[in-house]
């Protein structure tokens, strides 16, 4: 009991509020429409938001390092596009190879981002705004923008997205399916946790986010840290591109792009410090959960989906204000003045 109390005390404020908001909202929704509280809703959210959570983790790592990546969705769809084209050309029908390839291409694009951020010494926002458009434009120019159905890519490939991990038969006979994406998400979460909390590079990324100069003086190679963060984000973006292709069982080369700010919003909602140096996977999870709940339940309580953005915007702004204000008070105590 004592331990549990300590645990709860240790949860940062933003996350506490978020949990309260999610619980309250779920209560309201389930009071109005009891069909919300079902296994089906849960599995649906798992299926449609796994990809977003994966890419949000990548963005989280970059934001902890003090940068930002608005090219993430472009990297995702472009690496998925290249991989799918290669799979068809080389006739490979293997899920593991597909994932390795997509990680490779995503990582390569992340490497380009990192090198440009280091070389040009300009805000990462503007660099990745440029590279995102370049990647996306280049791929649609060279590879075309034609949709490729999953069946044309490969049998095993198409089956991975549609075959469930486990099927639960409800009392009334309907079957509810859980996707295999959950496995990918769990692996990604575990690796990221280990990477950020238990490796020198991960700790260095935190240090660099707090103060790049300080990290340099301690002896970290900040260029290497940047490469690590951006390549990791790129690789996860690639995985997300593949997951979203599996989700709809079709590759649409012009989808996803335009959602990058939503992903950053989700990460920020989770209490990640925009200047870097602080952030949690659990926070990103809560951020994505908030968005997922607003996305799927507004219809259940009788509001049209056009209200989604408004609700998301309000939660996002509240979260930004709370996180930044805490930091401001802390900074003022230490005589650090930020605007």
């Amino acid at each position: 009991m004592e331990k549990l109390k300590k645990r709860i005390k240790n949860i940062p404020n933003t996350e506490k509020y978020l949990i309260v908001i999610i619980l309250l909202y779920s209560l309201v929704v389930s009071a109005i429409n009891p069909s919300f509280l079902s296994l089906e809703t849960l599995f649906d959210i798992c299926r449609s938001w796994s990809g977003m959570f994966i890419i949000a983790i990548g963005t989280l790592v970059v934001m902890i390092s003090g940068g930002i990546d608005v090219s993430s969705t472009a990297v995702a769809i472009v690496s998925a596009h290249i991989t799918v084209r290669l799979i068809i050309a080389w006739n490979i029908d293997n899920v593991l190879v597909t994932i390795i390839m997509v990680i490779f291409f995503g990582g390569a694009m992340g490497l380009i981002n990192a090198c440009l951020v280091q070389l040009l010494k300009v805000e990462p926002f503007i660099i990745t705004l440029g590279t995102g458009n370049v990647f996306f434009g280049l791929s649609t120019m060279l590879l075309g923008a034609i949709q490729i159905p999953g069946a044309a890519i490969g049998k095993k490939f198409a089956a991975f997205g549609s075959d469930p991990l486990l099927t639960v038969t409800m009392t009334d006979g309907t079957q509810v399916k859980l996707t295999k994406f959950v496995v990918i998400v769990l692996i990604v979460v575990l690796i990221t946790w280990f990477f950020l909390r238990r490796t020198t590079v991960g700790r260095g990324i935190f240090a660099m986010g707090c103060s790049e100069e300080a990290a340099k003086r301690v002896g970290y190679n900040t260029f290497f840290l940047k490469i690590a963060a951006y390549v990791y984000a790129g690789a996860l973006a690639g995985v997300m591109g593949m997951v979203s292709t599996w989700k709809v069982n079709q590759l649409t080369p012009i989808s996803l792009v335009g959602d990058e700010l939503t992903i950053i919003a989700a990460v920020v909602i989770g209490g990640t410090l925009p200047n870097g140096g602080r952030g949690k996977i659990f926070g990103a999870f809560l951020g994505i959960l908030v968005m997922a709940i607003f996305d799927s339940t507004l219809v259940l309580i009788g509001l049209s989906s056009s209200w989604k953005l408004l609700f998301t915007g309000i939660v996002l702004l509240l979260s930004i204000c709370a996180t930044s204000y805490q930091q401001r008070v802390k900074n003022r105590k230490n005589f650090i003045f930020t605007e």
């Binding site: 300009v122 503007i126 120019m141 920020v268 953005l309």
Partner: protein
């Protein structure tokens, strides 16, 4: 010899501005060779005079904010939100407009749109100054909120059909120049005056260069942030009036490409992305170059993807070139210092 020295001095004085001048000239000459009369004709220029203002107003606002060391992602969303409210009033969605005097209605709507847009900017400023939020993230939040308000109001549909008297704003010409272009020019002149000739402008430059230094020299940073974001909001409000008067409709997600392009224009115009350096005049010149290019792209029938690629690669190239020239100039200065000391 004398002349060359002077030219060199001018180039050195404002390096990025000269880079821009050369880039613009190069673009103009290249396009003249490639397209000639098809691009450089009266009709094309008149078309540009109609289509530039909305984008120019947003770019000017973006430039101001970037010079101050911030960034404003919510400009287009703000323009869409205030424009949508204005459009709904003008098309009679809120109350019956046939009972109100049409001129009072139009004037009232314009004032209300400007007020809402300015308020939207002020909210940005307050969040950034009072809560110490990072400008990019804060404006990302307000962008989502404003887009949310616009979608919730319009339910995602376009609102159209405004009174003739209002649409006149978009088509009227004064002495052969479209009225919207004149509005943009006046707003631009006022902003240039503020930036170059008033203390407020100089404070903004100092703030962009070094925020802490300006605070400790007794400048009220928080007040200036609020003012600047409010002005940026006001400019996007003017842009929104231009947009709805010209296109006779308001819609969520109008002008989404303006975000990338306005940053591109500011950087191309010689504004340092981290703030403190740059001139509004450069932005206007860059807008001209970008619009010439855009017309050329349309003549060449580029797809939207190709255009996106071109804008992206230009953004990266411009930063690359400025980086190289800056390094080169620094090295030259160091050499000179060494030779002087010897």
């Amino acid at each position: 010899m004398m002349k060359r020295k002077k030219l060199k001095q001018i180039i050195k004085l404002d390096l990025s501005f000269s880079v821009l001048m050369i880039a613009t000239l190069a673009i103009c000459i290249f396009l003249a060779i490639a397209l000639g009369g098809r691009l450089y004709s009266g009709a094309v220029f008149l078309g540009m005079a109609y289509s530039i203002p909305e984008f120019a107003l947003i770019s000017i606002a973006m430039t101001m904010v970037i010079i101050m060391g911030g960034i404003d992602l919510s400009l287009v969303a703000n323009a869409n939100m205030s424009g949508m409210i204005g459009a709904m009033i003008l098309s009679g969605a809120f109350f019956d407009i046939s009972k109100v005097n049409i001129y009072i209605l139009v004037m009232g709507t314009i004032l209300l749109v400007l007020l809402i847009a300015a308020l939207g900017g002020l909210i940005n400023g307050l969040i950034i100054s009072r809560f110490s939020a990072v400008p990019m993230i804060a404006t990302l939040g307000t962008m989502t909120l404003y887009n949310g308000i616009t979608t919730a109001l319009s339910k995602g549909k376009a609102v159209a059909n405004f009174p003739k008297e209002f649409l006149m704003l978009g088509t009227q010409k004064v002495a052969g120049i479209p009225l919207v272009f004149l509005i943009m020019l006046i707003a631009f002149m006022i902003m240039v005056f503020c930036f170059n000739r008033t203390g407020y402008g100089q404070k903004l430059y100092l703030m962009g260069e070094n925020c802490a230094a300006s605070r400790f020299s007794g400048i009220n940073n928080e007040k200036n942030i609020c003012i600047t974001y409010t002005i940026a909001g006001l400019l996007s409000g003017i842009a929104s009036i231009v947009i709805i008067a010209r296109s006779n409709s308001a819609k969520v997600g109008y002008g989404e490409t303006y975000l990338l392009q306005s940053v591109l224009v500011a950087v191309l115009g010689g504004v340092s992305p981290s703030g403190g350096k740059g001139k509004l005049e450069g932005t206007l010149l860059a807008i001209f170059a970008i619009y010439l290019l855009q017309n050329a792209f349309n003549l060449w029938q580029f797809t939207t993807f190709t255009k996106k690629f071109m804008w992206g690669i230009m953004l990266l190239l411009v930063m690359f070139i400025t980086q190289i020239t800056e390094k080169y100039m620094n090295r030259l200065q160091k050499k000179k210092k060494i030779s002087k000391n010897e």
